[in-house]
Amino acid sequence: MRSRDGSFTILLRFYTLILFNTLTLSASEYLISYRYIVKDAILYNESLQISQAMQKCQGSMQKTLLLDSNGTKNLQKIVSLNHEKFISFINSIGLDISHKESSVNFQNHSTTILTLPTTCFKVDFNDNFAKISSLK
């Protein structure tokens, strides 16, 4: 039979674990990466990854974007509602460009890859809008 003190320590551990997880998960910092590939002037693949940061990000705020949130606190939903606006914001932050073009016997093939490396964003959710700021 477990003693009272023993169960107390287990409970303490359990509560600290919950507290720790809630603190880290409720942090309004997100890691976002974006990449799209254009092959022979046709969009081939596009991916936007959004995930909550599990560690506190370092750096100061750079550029800011305000998006209509319609009351939701889900960043993925907010971004999908304002997709074009968010993509142009990402473009203004800066994209890595890698372009390869080959012309074999005068037949041309090209591949362009635009990438936003995984970047930390601070997000403040309000009633009607979300304020997204890139950290650097």
Binding site: A41, L43, D96, S103
Partner: protein, 149 residues
């Protein structure tokens, strides 16, 4: 025979005296070596911004769900092309070429170009979509302060 010997002695002495003089001249002369400078004149000036404008082209895929989707996809491709053109203008292109010639005939001709860069603050100025081709005009302004850090 004597005369010839005297002549030889005189000639050799005159030759040595000439070389000594030239050596002295070389030592006394201030030689300035001029090397061709490789420094290109700076394009960016402190108070003048340079605006680079390009037109990127993109094509809509053959099978799309709607004309709106075709437009969106073509625009995305056109923006990528415009970014590539900006990178080419600002940073440059690496070009490699190979020609395979066999029996005095060109069997295979290959040209490869690569561009790698990072572009910030480029903005779309104008977008046109006609007959499945999307053209996007993009601009980026370069200032001296961007490159001082």
């Amino acid at each position: 025979m004597r005369y010839s010997l005297i002549l030889i002695v005189l000639l050799t002495s005159s030759l040595f005296s000439d070389t000594e003089q030239t050596m002295e001249n070389m030592e006394n002369a201030n030689v300035t070596v001029v090397c061709p400078t490789t420094e290109a004149p700076s394009v960016l000036e402190e108070n003048k911004d340079i605006r680079i404008s390009v037109v990127g082209q993109g094509v809509a895929p053959m099978h799309t769900a709607s004309p709106a989707q075709a437009y969106a996809l073509a625009k995305r491709a056109a923006v990528a092309d415009a970014y590539r053109l900006i990178a080419e203008k600002v940073k440059g292109v690496r070009v490699e070429g190979d020609d395979l010639i066999k029996n005095m005939m060109v069997k295979r001709s290959t040209v490869r170009t690569t561009v790698k860069a990072m572009v910030k603050n480029a903005s779309v100025v104008e977008t046109q979509f006609k007959d499945g081709l999307c053209e996007v005009e993009m601009e980026v302004s370069l200032s001296y302060s961007d490159f001082t850090h």
